[in-house]
Symmetry: C2
Amino acid sequence: MRNIKLVIEYDGTDYCGWQVQPNGITVQQCINDALGKIEGSNVSVTGAGRTDSGVHARGQTANFFTQSRIPAEKYRDALNSLLPETIRIVSSTNAPENFNARFSAKRKTYKYRIRNSAVASALTCRYEYHCPGRIDIELMKRACAYYVGEHDFNAFMASGSAVKDTVRTVFDAHLDVYMPEIVFSVTGNGFLYKMVRFMVGTLLDIGKGKYEPEYIMMLLEPSNNLKAVSAAPAKGLTLESIEYESSGNGAI
Amino acid sequence: MRNIKLVIEYDGTDYCGWQVQPNGITVQQCINDALGKIEGSNVSVTGAGRTDSGVHARGQTANFFTQSRIPAEKYRDALNSLLPETIRIVSSTNAPENFNARFSAKRKTYKYRIRNSAVASALTCRYEYHCPGRIDIELMKRACAYYVGEHDFNAFMASGSAVKDTVRTVFDAHLDVYMPEIVFSVTGNGFLYKMVRFMVGTLLDIGKGKYEPEYIMMLLEPSNNLKAVSAAPAKGLTLESIEYESSGNGAI
């Protein structure tokens, strides 16, 4: 059995998220269906991140096993010829046998795009959250720093998740400002259900003066039993990239 | 009667072009309908450029007359609250009585986006033409220069147009290259039916080695009776801006 790694870009607008579900078309389902046609049997790809409905990806990563003799790099064009144009396989390569797109992942990077202008853009509205009015960007930049480090992010997890261990490490969190566009980038070893959207919603509340930047420290202190209340909408979020170890231990 | 000028951005993907037509939803129709609700009577806006189905705009310009006492700048938000999110009024301002968005226009700028990569992008496929394979960009840059000036662009006009005077002046035509994206920008005093798309299609044929750059000179010589044969698809094209004279004679 060979193990094939896929890097995938998609526009999440018209999909019910990544993961296969009984009702609604998902990105994983589309890829499974296309692979099934190529392989002549049922295949299920494993994805690194289970993005929600409306969330986009530039570097989602997945893997699957095959007994075929099709060269790894041929899967890219074969899949693209069968997939809708809003899902593209960026690359398909051989991976070590023990590579698992989900469990071998070391770092994930998400970006969240905000448009801070009076009028939304007709051309980019699928990919950004329109947030008019005064926002204090310096306060938001200061607030970002409080996210960095190993913390219990339970306050930033949406209810409905079965996850028990809510400690995650955020390696980097910062804002890039290209007015009227503001881009929040965050890299971590993993993210809880809707965590990035709650991080952004809280940042925007800080930018609007609802909280001080230091409020993030309070949210990250488990004994305070606080919950973030504002989740930014899905459409501004993009899974940018997944990083794996460059050698050894099932990573590539 | 007051004359109101609108600057309009739209994603043309889901519209049958700008101009009202019996079958299919058009951008002009959407704006007329929204204005009709505000005014309480039928209104028809005059647009500067009649973009085709699938063509986008960042700076389409239109005007309409009103007897209402609504301040000009209030139309922006009032219209945006009624329009689909893929059509946005960027600004609404008072214009001189003799301003006509179409006939007062002095210069129009279009941009055409090409993606020269093996795989198309899922995230930008609505706004660019995916053109894989080797393209000689230096040849295309050289070719652009031949478009500049006053020429008979009859060879670049699609059949089906009733226009008789096919002489137009191109003030600027150039390529900006941000690989894998290539952007063709062209500014002129007016454009014939599908003219920009034939200009781009011809440039790409030159980039692929089908013609020499000098072939454009031959197309522009009416006595040769030649016609450009390749029109690039609509979705890569955006009407970027319309310029008017800054003073006098019906312009603003």
